[in-house]
Structure formats: structure tokens, C-alpha cells
């Protein structure tokens, strides 16, 4: 089933394939920077997302080959809802959302620029669906060009 909302909201210039990063901060900064350049978030978004991640981490162990993180922050830093995505060349540690003292090696990062809760229910449900679909995640991790990333969600 296609993830319509993800496809609509994923910003092509904010998709990084096989990104090389040393730590979670670098990944978040890179993706936040792309969303800022593309006009979807305020300049404050990057710092806010980093702070949020340090206090309320978003690492999600998926029980398979790959793990994910879904950094996001408060709506005041967002101009228009959007998604940024990075697949990482080597795993980077994010802290576990439910057990913040535990590290999760992550290969798939989706930065979410959200506005009001209710208007994004479908997109958020699609993201949860994607996280639970090992085939989609495999396709994302194997993608080497941006169109393949969008295809993975179709």
C-alpha cells in the first residue's frame, strides 16, 4: 500500500542517501539544514531538534537488520510540514526512546517537521507502518538514487 502522505511530504533535497556521519548530531544538523534551505523550517529548528533529541531521544530498535530514529521538535520551529530522510552508510548511535540510557545503532533517520497533531495523523501512521515493514526498510537501505527512495514508499 503506497504511503501517500510520506511521498507528498518528503522533500527531495532533504533526502541523503548513504550519508557518512560520526554521530546523531551530525545527521540531525544535516537534515535540518536541508529543510531550512528548502524553506520548510525556521533556522531555530536544527538547534531545537538537537536539544529535543538529547532530552527525549527518538531511537527505535526495530528488531531486525536495521534500526531507525525519528527526530522532531515543537511546531513553533516549523513553517510547513515536511519530512527529511537519511540512510546512513554506517550505523550511528541514537538513544532509545523508551530507555534513554541505552544506545541504538541506527541506519535510517527520518526528521519530521510537524505542525498540529491532528493534521498529521495519516502521515504519522504511515511512518509507523513503514517502520514495521522490513521490505520497505530494505528497499530504502538499498537505494542509491533519490527516485528509488520515493519508489520504496509507493
Amino acid at each position: 500500500m503506497p504511503s501517500q502522505k510520506i511521498i507528498e511530504l518528503l522533500v527531495p533535497s532533504a533526502v541523503c542517501i548513504q550519508l557518512v556521519a560520526d554521530d546523531s548530531n551530525q545527521v540531525i544538523e544535516t537534515l535540518a539544514g536541508r529543510l531550512f534551505k528548502a524553506g520548510f523550517v525556521h533556522e531555530s529548528f536544527a538547534k531545537a531538534a538537537l536539544e529535543r533529541e538529547s532530552q527525549m531521544p527518538t531511537g527505535l530498535p526495530l528488531g531486525g537488520k536495521y534500526n531507525a530514529a525519528i527526530p522532531h521538535t515543537d511546531i513553533e520551529h516549523v513553517i510547513k510540514p515536511a519530512l527529511a530522510l537519511a540512510t546512513l552508510q554506517k550505523p550511528v548511535n541514537f538513544q532509545n526512546m523508551i530507555e534513554p540510557e541505552t544506545a541504538v545503532p541506527v541506519q535510517l533517520v527520518i526528521v519530521m517537521a510537524l505542525e498540529q497533531a491532528k493534521t498529521q495523523v495519516e502521515m504519522l501512521q504511515e511512518i509507523a507502518g513503514v517502520l514495521q515493514d522490513a521490505d520497505i526498510i530494505e528497499k530504502l537501505m538499498n537505494a542509491r538514487e533519490i527516485p528509488r527512495v520515493f519508489e520504496a514508499f509507493s
Binding site: R52, M97, I98, Q116, A117
Partner: protein
């Protein structure tokens, strides 16, 4: 007519993961014929809001000394252990 059960759903920002969790809980319990009303909040707000709720479900750690039973889970996001958590929720609401 039975009163719907009230569930407080907490996460870091109150807009992202709690949205998915709240929706999933509503749908899954509806399938089992259980009426629930959910409210989303930030983890930091739980202490002030918990009174009057039957259950709290959270994706992020909460203070220990709460009045209301708490289920901490990522199952609605990752799918891991989802059925078991739903059973846990049903039991907690009995």
C-alpha cells in the same frame, strides 16, 4: 451504557508518537468492543493531568510516583510485541 475508559497517551512532544499510539489504541480497542477516550500530552505534563484517567500509555519514561497505572511501550511504533501490549491494556482497563 458503560462509560468509555479514559487513557492518557504521553510522549515527548505530544504531537508525534502519541498521535500514532492514541489512534492505534482507539482502533484496536474498538475492534474488541471497548470504548475509549484518549488524550495526548507531553511526558512533562502527565503529573498534572493524570487524575481521572484509567490508564497511561507512554513512549517515553515517566516519573515513578504516579496515581494511575502506566504502560511504557514502543510497540505501536515498531510493531514488536504489539499484540501482547494490547492484551496488557485490555487487562489494565478491566
Amino acid at each position: 451504557m458503560a462509560q468509555p475508559k479514559r487513557i492518557l497517551v504521553a510522549c515527548g512532544t505530544a504531537i508525534a508518537t502519541s498521535t500514532v499510539v492514541a489512534k492505534s489504541i482507539e482502533e484496536e480497542l474498538k475492534k474488541r468492543g471497548i470504548q475509549v477516550v484518549t488524550r495526548q500530552c507531553k511526558a512533562t505534563e502527565v503529573k498534572g493531568l493524570e487524575h481521572g484517567y484509567d490508564l497511561i500509555v507512554t513512549t517515553t519514561p515517566l516519573p515513578k510516583d504516579l496515581e494511575v497505572p502506566v504502560i511504557q511501550t514502543l510497540a505501536f511504533l515498531t510493531g514488536i510485541g504489539k499484540e501482547a501490549v494490547i492484551e496488557q491494556i485490555v487487562k489494565a482497563l478491566e
